[in-house]
């Protein structure tokens, strides 16, 4: 039994001061159901997640008390990936025919301030200033640049692309393209990453209506097939956020294991993908994730970015809506926004940012603390 996505909805990311996180989630859910031409009474199940926006199953107070199974999912930045994985399994198993996946969030301004106890660490780790995701990403790309010959220019190119794509995406939070000089001269945050190289915590909501593919014709719109939804956690030896120590022998990251499992299950390879969304909480992440997801060899990114391979008009467009960099990261919704964007691209509904030549296969990848990755392969 194949799984199809028949409706997608977004409450645009950014700041919505008048709305709670739950209200933004409800807006996204209603938009997805309207896209599919169904109402909430038709939903047999829902999986939802939010970090700071409230319990996802409280959405029934806004959407209607219909008695459906509503399960809350929480997996850090990979929450959206895990929610979609759960929905995929619910339909694959034959348990349900149609349901809702929803994520939303409403974070305070500024960097996240995770608590050590929530991650199995003692207070000293946070108190002495080691528990910042920004530091981890900076140290990972610092070593990566050293090992694989990636230059600062490539970091700037990724940010340039993100804000350029955001400027032609009506729902993006950051609507202004930034010049090379603006990015290059911005204040340093965590060496080698400066201000415009990081995404910011934000607000927003995203939802998908998923169903048995053989029922997809009953809904409005053009269905997108969800070929695989894979989530993996870290192995001993992979270099992950919130790690007071790393093992001597490096292991592959959970992105590598999730990606290779997803390609194997889908029976295709990276060369078959026409458009991709790769987790870009900062520019280094997008660069490293290009290789970790199998799209290029380590170090090739330097040439790829110089040649524009990942531009909307390139051979493998990456983060066509500006990604996390231009949309910000409402954690619970972010992984689903990636799927939303790929669905629009495969349907040909992406407007000014539409990838040319009608791509048939799309790919999403989300990465979260403390070392978890979710990969989805979609096709039309």
């Amino acid at each position: 039994m194949d799984v199809a996505i028949v409706g997608v909805g977004l409450h645009p990311f950014g700041r919505s001061p008048a709305l709670s996180g739950l209200e933004q989630g409800a807006n996204a859910a209603r938009a997805a159901m309207a896209d599919a031409g169904v109402d909430f009474k038709a939903m047999q199940f829902a999986f939802g997640g939010s970090q700071d926006g409230g319990n996802a199953d409280s959405l029934v107070n806004l959407l209607g008390l219909t008695g459906l199974q509503f399960t809350n999912i929480w997996n850090g930045c990979a929450t959206g990936g895990s929610s979609l994985n759960a929905a995929y399994s619910a339909i694959k198993s034959g348990q349900y025919d149609v349901g809702l996946v929803v994520g939303f969030d409403k974070h305070p301004r500024g960097a996240f301030n995770p608590q050590p106890k929530d991650w199995g660490l003692d207070d000293w780790y946070g108190e002495t200033g080691l528990m910042l995701t920004t530091q981890f990403f900076a140290m990972k790309i610092q070593r990566y640049m050293h090992d694989h010959g990636i230059s600062n220019d490539t970091l700037i190119r990724v940010a340039e692309k993100a804000f350029r794509n955001g400027s032609i995406t009506p729902t993006a939070w950051r609507q202004a393209a930034l010049s090379w000089e603006e990015i290059a001269n911005a204040p340093m945050v965590s060496e080698p990453l400066s201000k415009y190289m990081f995404c910011s915590p934000a607000e927003g909501g995203c939802a998908l209506v998923v169903c048995r593919a053989d029922m997809a014709h009953k809904f409005g719109g053009k269905p997108v097939i969800l070929n695989t939804a894979v989530v993996r956690s870290r192995h001993y030896g992979s270099f992950e956020v919130f790690s007071p120590a790393q093992a001597p022998e490096m292991a592959q990251s959970p992105t590598v294991t999730a990606s290779s499992a997803a390609f194997e299950l889908a029976g295709i390879g990276p060369e078959d993908v026409g458009v991709a969304q790769l987790q870009d909480t900062e520019v280094g992440a997008e660069i490293m994730h290009m290789a970790e997801n199998g799209f290029c060899a380590h170090g090739d990114q330097e040439q790829w970015l110089a040649d524009g391979v990942t531009e909307i008009t390139g051979r493998l467009p990456v983060n066509t809506d500006g990604g996390c960099l231009a949309n910000g990261e409402p954690v619970g919704a972010s992984g689903l926004r990636q799927v939303y964007e790929i669905c629009l691209q495969l349907r040909g509904d992406a407007g000014a940012r539409q990838v040319p030549n009608a791509p048939k296969v799309g790919y999403t990848h989300v990465y979260g603390a403390p070392g978890i990755s979710g990969v989805n392969i979609l096709s039309i």
């Binding site: 500024g110 960097a111 301030n113 608590q115 050590p116 003692d122 207070d123 000293w124 946070g126 108190e127 002495t128 200033g129 080691l130 528990m131 910042l132 530091q135 900076a138 140290m139 990972k140 610092q142 070593r143 050293h146 204040p187 340093m188 945050v189 965590s190 060496e191 080698p192 990453l193 001993y236 030896g237 790690s243 007071p244 120590a245 790393q246 093992a247 001597p248 022998e249």
Partner: protein
């Protein structure tokens, strides 16, 4: 008395203050030459920091506390340029905050330990440089005791 100085908190007038580790078990204390403490698995030999009673590598539950030395080489680094929000807890104020280095230091046993670094400019930090442990003040607690933690700095040339 072992006193570092990477945190610029005006502690010079308090050199005689009693010192205690911020968290027990991270380094040998009291010790004229403190070393990092970790655990080693008695089944597979893997090290862990901080010490733990189970092994992340082989899933075993038989480990022992071991000293892990006071030197290593810098594996990667960054600089924390803004004062972190809570749970960061030192005696610094936004006005007195000074950027600090953060890195992973590869110890002699191969384990790479995350640490604050005394050096806090890009010019002072290079992957592969030799590093040595130091003990630095974090804050004076409610009992007037200076709480200290581990840090690394560029190895002094004798």
């Amino acid at each position: 008395m072992v006193v570092g100085g990477a945190l610029n908190m005006g502690i010079t007038e308090d050199r005689m203050r009693e010192q205690q580790p911020l968290h027990d078990g991270l380094f040998s204390w009291p010790d004229a030459q403190p070393e990092l403490l970790g655990s080693q698995c008695n089944q597979c030999g893997e090290h862990a920091f901080p010490a733990q009673t189970s092994c992340r590598s082989c899933t075993g539950t038989d480990t022992q506390i071991v000293k892990m030395g006071r030197t290593g080489t810098l594996w990667t680094w960054t600089i924390q340029s803004f004062m972190p929000k809570a749970p960061y807890h030192t005696d610094e104020t936004p006005e007195s905050f000074q950027p600090y280095g953060v890195g992973y230091v590869e110890l002699e046993n191969g384990l790479r330990v995350e640490s604050r670094l005394r050096e806090n400019t890009p010019e002072q930090l290079t992957i592969g440089m030799p590093m040595q442990l130091e003990i630095i003040p974090v804050r004076v607690d409610e009992n007037g005791i200076e709480r200290v933690t581990f840090s690394f700095r560029a190895q002094e040339v004798n």
